[in-house]
């Protein structure tokens, strides 16, 4: 409790900012999951694995280009595309045949992917952990309210709204978004009016995987890149998607912010039980709004 007595306004502000920058990555990854859940109805546990693959690929590409200061940016561009390609192969090769299966079956099918991907990552990259330097222009930190705030976190903080706006544009203003929203509600109807639903499904799945890859690439410079990253994020993003409302991109944003903030502020209030706060938030949301905060497509 020592921390609580020493809690000042500036510490609280920095803590909120850090929580929000963490929420950005959670939001990006969770929005991919929620798109796939909403449109394809696949509870994709392998989403965390794709995020991990994104981080490892980013590491490999960035170190391959380590002579140039652009290494990380090249990786940020390429790694998610590689992850998206893996997604395309998964969808076209396997998932496409299983859409009529029950959710539990799909869940376990995607879980078998997490096992396979986990071991493949170990085969390809070994089991050591890796660490990637923050890109040069974001190294160091700014001083806000007398407290250091890492520049990279600020970059993440600014990126969050950009992605939110981009996803809003994509789902509300483009044809793909409109069709996929319609397909989420009534697949047969969309098929009946002559639209190739399979193509829409593939596109949404690939987009979702791409977002997981972006999340992995962005998180790479901030933490250890290691096996087990997949496990630690997958439960978090599932909970975010559930409290936000299944299939709702804005819900993913709201859920990520709630998760990031309860985590950061929980640390201040009771560091011993900081781990418990996000779960408590989820439980209270689900008890009062069992279908999530925003409108669920399910």
């Amino acid at each position: 409790m020592e921390l609580f007595s020493g809690l000042s306004f500036s510490v609280l502000c920095i803590q909120i900012l850090v929580g929000l920058s963490k929420a950005t990555i959670l939001f990006i990854v969770a929005s991919g999951l929620t798109l796939i859940l909403g449109v394809l109805r696949i509870p994709n546990l392998a989403h965390g694995s794709l995020y991990m693959i994104g981080a490892f690929t980013t590491y490999s590409i960035a170190t391959a280009f380590s002579q140039s200061s652009l290494g990380f940016w090249v990786a940020l561009l390429l790694a998610p595309l590689i992850v998206a390609l893996i997604g395309l192969i998964m969808e076209q090769g396997l998932f496409r045949f299983l859409y009529k299966r029950d959710h539990l079956m799909m869940l376990l099918f995607t879980f078998s992917f997490t096992l396979v991907f986990g071991d493949l990552v170990k085969l390809l990259w070994g089991s050591d952990y890796r660490s990637l330097a923050v890109p040069e222009i974001f190294q160091g930190s700014y001083t806000l309210l007398g407290m250091p705030f890492p520049r990279y976190n600020l970059f993440l903080l600014l990126l969050g709204p950009v992605f939110a706006a981009g996803l809003w544009f994509l789902t509300n203003r483009t044809l793909l978004g409109k069709i996929s929203r319609a397909a989420a509600v009534d697949r047969e109807m969309v098929g009946a009016v002559g639209i190739n639903v399979n193509l829409v499904y593939a596109a949404v799945f690939v987009l979702g995987c791409y977002l997981a890859g972006i999340g992995g690439a962005l998180v790479a410079p901030t933490q250890n890149i290691s096996q087990g990253m997949d496990h630690s994020i997958i439960i978090e993003i599932f909970l975010i998607v559930i409290i936000g409302g299944l299939g709702n991109v804005w819900g993913a944003l709201l859920g990520a912010v709630i998760f990031g903030l309860t985590d950061a502020i929980g640390i201040l209030i009771a560091p011993q039980f900081g781990i418990v706060f996000p779960y408590l938030a989820v439980i209270s949301v689900l008890i009062f709004r069992p279908k999530g905060l925003l409108k669920s497509i399910w």
Partner: protein, 405 residues
């Protein structure tokens, strides 16, 4: 009924094939069963233990083995899970019929195996698990520790820190057994050595915490003279990274066990923070003796990487096994244990002894400060102070108290 009979035959067939899959009897060898985590981040440390053990065992075998018997070893991946590891340990004892159990970085698993070893009367040589309970509170005749433990870290660190001019401290660390044990160990000993020290406060984070910035900001706000970071294993790397990003190391000096160790510094390369005080049992460049240089050269030749602290543990374990059997004169568990008690072997850090009373190996600890060296890709420890094993070991009085003797 006919169809059910068919099914029963099928099931019986499967059962039989599983049974015959068991191994044939082993030849005249000394068999060591290693259970450890070879998946996930912890394997950064455990691979070195296994590889150095293999290297030393091969050398012993090439020289004719132990009175003609070869050392053979089998490994099992526990994936950092206690149930998997315990099952694997039982499998190696019951089916592979190993003579010695070894391994594991996971303290909970080490304690579980230790209990099993006690029942089965099989020696268990713990490598890398840091819990002081292994040879302290839960110690018994069949368990030995081949590395430093939290009590030794605490004592060694306090000895080193007491010489530094800091009086107000903040403690922060991993919110699990290791973190709390190290923090308590350092603080209790520091208070004894330097009564004027004052603790301003503590903060604890969950294991695997991805972002340390909020904790660092909170600590900076309190302006302590120095900070004790009780973080272990994989969390060391992101913490050092966050320290570098926020400039924490430039504003407040901090101590962290293994901060100077290559496993921690290597992933960070030149972006690792300078001026961090750390302790470690081993450096490939210190002590700069002929034995250490030879060991490093041999390890690098075999595995194409620099040996980290785990390599020391693996190496001395092999030495202890071979020397204890040689002294016992035959492959007999009770005689092996009697021989191992109080035994000394040569190692890259000089002669090390297995303390007879509590089965805890006596290793010196090196305290240093992270520094960049021209032309090197990884930071090294400078201004190294050696804390002798005698200064770091918990007293026999403390051991007796812990074991309630």
């Amino acid at each position: 009924m006919k169809s059910s009979l068919k099914f029963f035959c099928l099931a019986a067939l499967i059962a039989c094939s599983l049974l015959t899959a068991s191994n044939a009897f082993a030849a005249e060898t000394i068999k060591v069963g290693i259970v450890d985590t070879y998946s996930g981040p912890a394997s950064t440390y455990t691979n070195d233990v296994r590889d150095a053990f293999a290297l030393a065992a091969n050398k012993i075998n090439a020289a004719g083995g132990i009175f003609g018997q070869q050392i053979e070893f089998v490994t099992r991946d526990s994936k950092f899970k206690v149930d998997l590891g315990l099952s694997a340990a039982k499998e190696m004892v019951m089916r592979e019929e190993v003579d010695i159990l070894m391994g594991t970085i996971n303290s909970a698993l080490a304690l579980a195996i230790s209990d099993f070893a006690k029942q089965e009367k099989i020696p268990f040589l713990a490598t890398f698990a840091k819990s002081a309970k292994i040879t302290g509170e839960k110690g018994h005749r069949y368990v030995f520790s081949m590395n430093e433990n939290t009590a030794m870290i605490g004592k060694a660190a306090a000895t080193g820190l007491a010489k530094l001019p800091y009086t107000t401290y903040w403690i922060a660390g991993d919110d699990y057994e290791y973190g709390h044990a190290v923090a308590e160990g350092v603080w209790e000993n520091l208070k004894k050595l330097k009564p004027e020290v004052k603790l301003l406060g503590q903060s604890w984070w969950k294991v695997g915490e991805p972002d340390f910035t909020p904790y660092i900001t909170a600590m900076l706000a309190e302006k302590p003279d120095a900070v004790i970071i009780a973080t272990g294993g994989r969390d060391c790397v992101p913490f050092l990274k966050a320290a570098q990003t926020t400039g924490f190391n430039k504003q407040v000096p901090f101590y962290m066990h293994t901060a100077t160790e290559i496993s921690t510094l290597k992933p960070l390369g030149l972006t690792a923070p300078e001026g961090v005080i750390g302790t470690a049992n081993y450096h490939s460049y210190y002590p700069d003796t002929a034995e250490n240089r030879a060991f490093v050269a041999e390890f690098e030749k075999a595995y194409d990487r620099t040996p980290a602290v785990g390599a020391l543990y693996g190496y001395i374990t092999a030495q202890f096994i071979s020397k204890a059997y040689a002294k016992a004169g035959e492959v007999d568990t009770e005689k092996f244990i009697d021989a191992l008690e109080g035994l000394s072997v040569d190692s890259p850090v000089g002669e090390v002894t297995m303390r007879a009373e509590d089965h805890q190996v006596m290793l010196p600890m090196f305290m240093g400060v992270t520094t960049k060296v021209e032309g090197q890709e990884v930071l090294v420890a400078s201004d190294i102070v050696t804390i002798s094993a005698e200064d770091a070991m918990p007293s026999l009085e403390e051991i007796r108290k812990a074991r309630q003797l």
